[in-house]
Amino acid sequence: PPDEALFLLLHNEMVAGLYRAAEQGEGENGRCTTKLESMGFRVGQGLIERFTKDTARFTPPLDIMKFICKDFWTPPLKKQIDNLRTNHQGIYPPQDNKFRLLTQISAGKQYLEHAPKYLAFTCGPPPGGLLNLGIKSIVTPPLSSMPACK
């Protein structure tokens, strides 16, 4: 479907464009990650409003986490989260084994160093959405092997 390809291409350009601008003297690498994340954050706030418009009221936090893994993750990334665990102390690592934004980069160790740039944007929407649902959160994306990520 065309809109899927459009988003992938747009996302790749966003990452490349921001880093190019950074090289031309706008700031160090860390700022690019923050910019990408905050773009994602704002998008997440809008998305959560639209996706929760017609749902019944949630009982936090379990309803909310389930919603994020199924209904929030699926439309942009075309599949549900593969695995969700919790340590019952407020940490929920969702696992996606075939993360759509990374599948275009060849599997294997060579690009592992650059992969985090492509995760930055996606780290935005969950906290944005969660904040609007009343939950403060941080996202850290450990990457062990392409194209899986937690």
Binding site: Q45, G46, L47, R50, T52, K53, A56, N132, G134
Partner: protein, 141 residues
């Protein structure tokens, strides 16, 4: 017949993002009513934990009647509150009409959230939103 519609942002800020009333002279008096109704909204939400109210509904129904007005509430999953104040003498307005007005408010609010030029927490200045509210109020008055 006087009517007021208000959109209040999520806690902890809880200030109005939008207030519109007909006739507009009453607006200041309505600010007070809206403010006190927030407490009632919070009460209803916490009462849901005790399963007294249908937990899954976003529409809260009649919050409280004063001798002049009836106040209705609606809270989204994102904790944004919509409050509607209607003149008590307006007995023609039925529950399902009020529900559908809240749905329209919710839909328009969602559009505003998705507008990249809108910053969450800003006051709402949108012609589309205004005209939706205007046409709703015309139907009620």
């Amino acid at each position: 017949w006087p009517v007021l519609i208000s959109v209040i942002c999520s806690p902890p800020q809880n200030y109005p993002l939008y207030i519109r009333s007909i006739p507009t002279e009453n607006e200041l008096k309505f600010h007070y009513t809206v403010h006190t109704s927030l407490d009632v909204v919070d009460e209803k939400i916490s009462a849901m934990g005790k399963a007294l109210v249908d937990q899954r509904e976003l529409y809260l129904g009649l919050l409280y009647p004063t001798e002049d007005y009836k106040v209705y509430g609606y809270v989204t999953n994102s904790k944004v509150k919509f409050v509607m104040v209607v003149d008590s003498s307006n007995t023609a307005l039925r529950d399902n009409e009020i529900r559908s007005m809240f749905r329209k408010l919710h839909n328009s609010y969602t559009d505003i959230m998705c507008n990249p030029f809108y910053n969450p927490g800003d006051r709402i200045h949108s012609r589309a939103f205004d005209s939706m509210v205007n046409s709703m109020m015309m139907q009620v008055c």
